[in-house]
């Protein structure tokens, strides 16, 4: 009996192995097919932007191939980088984004710590509520927000609208809920015994947060930081609604409103401006990618 079973198994063995290999090859083949489709789909626009940014306006309007540069020029880059307005946009964007990141972290980290660790009345409901606010789209929020600041102006006499710093107050309504939510998840994955050990070692809540939680949850904090920065950098609707003067604009709105003069689309400069505007998040992603991934997959496996 046993020998018969063994021979059957050896007969079945090899073809099964090779069919496994074939399965794997087929899977790999289709993976590559779809990956290539995705890469083409997502990289075509930026490639097109780079190509266009290297062309003169004359070459863009001439009906030659859009996929090749015949007379490459850096003229667009020179013009953009020496233009005072563009640099103002850039500065506004940078200050707003960095300040928003700072404000978001100052609010989100303590909030997440409190919601994940200090059991108090309504803490669970509050944690859910934080996330639910994130689900309300900004297209619904900007009109009431606008009204609030008009009302505040009437009340206090301070002019909020049409100042770039107003964005530092508004953007956290988008970033704080999501960042808090990420951090709650991350903090929750830190074993409870760790804060208990620290508590016994003589640490207060603030020390537990700064000396234990923040270093341990660093990947999560970095993930939240990148998210907050990206949102603050790329937000379009709020600055469009809340700021109008050229010197108060941030990049995404500035490029669209100032580089389109009347009905003249200066495509070369628009593309250049957009590319340069996309550079900072790209650089940050490149450097912090590993942390970002580690942050988003936190708690998936035991460390």
């Amino acid at each position: 009996m046993t020998t018969a079973a063994a021979t059957v198994e050896t007969k079945v063995g090899p073809p099964r192995k090779s069919s496994m290999r074939r399965d794997r090859q087929r899977a790999l083949f289709w993976s590559y097919v779809f990956l290539i489709i995705f890469v083409i789909f997502f990289l075509t626009p930026p490639v097109y932007m780079i190509i266009t940014s290297l062309k003169t306006s004359a070459e863009i309007s001439a009906a030659t191939t859009p996929w090749w540069v015949l007379n490459p020029t850096l003229q667009n880059y020179v013009e953009i980088l020496t233009s005072r307005t563009y640099l103002t946009f850039f500065r506004n964007s940078a200050v707003v984004a960095l300040a928003v990141v700072l404000v978001t972290m100052l609010v989100s980290i303590p909030a997440a710590f409190a919601l994940s660790r200090m059991k108090f009345w309504g803490s669970a409901t509050l944690a859910t509520g934080v996330f639910l606010t994130y689900l309300i789209p900004d297209t619904l929020l900007f009109i009431p927000l606008f009204k609030i600041f008009v009302f505040l102006h009437d009340l206090t006499g301070i002019e909020f609208l049409n100042h770039w710093w107003l964005l530092i107050i508004i953007y956290p309504t988008l970033t704080v809920p999501f960042c808090t939510w990420i951090m709650i998840g991350y903090f929750a994955s830190i074993p409870k015994e760790l804060d208990e050990a620290a508590l016994i070692d003589g640490a207060g809540y603030l020390q537990i947060l700064t000396k234990i939680f923040m270093p341990v949850a660093l990947p999560g904090i970095i993930a939240a930081t990148i998210f907050a920065f990206t949102v603050a950098w790329a937000q379009f609707l709020y600055p469009l609604a809340f700021t109008t003067s050229t010197d108060q604009l941030v990049l995404p709105v500035g490029i669209v409103t100032t580089l389109i003069k009347g009905d003249v689309f200066n495509w070369g400069q628009i593309m250049t401006g957009a590319l340069l505007g996309a550079a900072p998040p790209l650089i940050i992603y490149a450097f912090l990618m590993d942390y970002y991934i580690a942050g988003l997959t936190a708690g998936a496996t035991k460390g």
Partner: protein, 366 residues
């Protein structure tokens, strides 16, 4: 001086009672082990001593002071957790010195104390490593080191060996005992493993369903259990517990297990057991090592009987034999040379001098 006293301590989670009013006195320098099945309230009790759980009712005193409302950091205790709870971003040195650094102890003194503790635990060469680079046993040592460094009044251990593999567990058990003999700090140790409890403790506290079943030295619990629960919990393999009837013939008592097996009660226990003659719901208890193969002349109190072996399990040093009496599996422990084999008919001897009689209504050993 650091005795720990629990006075009518109660803990309820919402409406569910976890600990139902326990009294316990732990002397200075004593090693006390709380043992019991999961959910018996032993960990909760430890965490209440640590200050990690509020006390619903009663009092806890450390070193003569009521600490009910004292936060953990002011209780001068150190705790070792089951999962070690080492700070993953700190080196071993930083882990061990964290408490001292928070207390702003001088740097030279910190260094001295950490190195001293590291020497005791033999982890001096690990001080610069991160917890991730350590094995389970090493992490356990570091966790103990972190406790020793603080030189607390009381050590609290919460199932510290449960995450280790069997061999390492035995090693670390010895290690903990050795460290306690060196450091001599009052220790409260929680485990569900009765072997750990027996080997480590000066005194064992057996808990069940939120109350203390019995407190005593390991051998005391083993030989004179006070309740059915302790009798069944302490010892491995567990004590045999068989429903029985107590009969009296001509002044002598006999324990009847079924139609064919009736075992005589030793004469000196007759007076103690007589009130239970004819009672329902009695349990006869005898440990496996008191059921053995005949070895020459029967001594007083020993009684032979014959059974068909259900299973024989050779353990090397001895062989465990299982057989059924009144449909209950009974285990005996015979010499490997007795030739016990599954399915075999075998003569065995019950040493009635070690018998226990349990009143199943009250759960007490009589």
């Amino acid at each position: 001086m650091a005795q720990v006293t629990l006075h009518k301590v109660v803990k309820n989670y919402d409406e569910t009672p976890a600990v139902r009013g326990i009294d316990l006195d732990i002397a200075d320098k004593e090693f006390v082990v709380l043992v019991g099945p999961s959910g018996c309230g032993k960990s909760t009790t430890l965490r209440m001593i640590a200050g990690l759980e509020d006390i619903t009712d009663g009092e806890i005193l450390i070193g003569g002071e009521v600490v009910n409302d004292t936060p953990p950091k002011d209780r001068d205790i150190a705790m070792v957790f089951q999962n070690y709870a080492l700070y993953p971003h700190m080196t071993v040195f930083e882990n061990m010195s964290f408490g001292l650094r928070l207390k702003k102890v001088a740097r030279t003194e910190i260094k001295e104390r950490v190195e001293n503790a590291a020497r005791i635990l033999d982890i001096t060469e690990l001080l610069e490593r991160k917890p991730k680079q350590l094995s389970g046993g090493q992490r356990q040592r570091v966790a103990m080191g972190r406790a020793i460094v603080r030189d607390p009044k009381v050590f609290l251990f919460d199932e510290p060996l449960s995450n280790l593999d069997a061999k390492l567990r035995v090693q670390m058990r010895t290690e903990i005992k050795r460290v306690h003999q060196k450091v001599r700090t009052t220790t409260v140790y929680v485990t569900h493993d009765q072997v750990e409890a027996m080997t480590l403790a000066d005194r064992v506290v057996v808990m069940n369903a939120g109350i203390i079943e019995q407190v005593g030295a390991p051998n005391e619990l083993y030989h004179t259990p006070a309740t059915k629960f302790v009798a069944g919990f302490i010892g491995s393999p567990a004590m045999n517990l068989v429903p029985c009837a107590l009969e009296e013939t001509a002044g002598a008592l006999r324990v009847r297990l079924n139609e064919s097996v009736a075992l005589p009660v030793p004469a000196e226990r007759t007076a103690r057991y007589r009130p239970f003659v004819g009672r329902d719901r009695l349990l006869f208890g005898l440990r496996p090592e008191n059921i053995l193969e005949p070895r020459g002349q029967l001594e007083p109190g020993q009684q032979g009987f014959e059974v068909v072996l259900d299973v024989a399990e050779p353990m090397g040093m001895d062989t465990l034999v299982h057989f059924l009496i009144a449909h209950i599996d009974v285990c005996g422990r015979v010499s490997p040379n007795a030739g016990a084999q599954t399915g075999q008919r075998m003569k065995l001897v019950a040493d009635m001098n070690h018998m226990h009689l349990i009143d199943d209504d009250s759960g007490k050993v009589v």
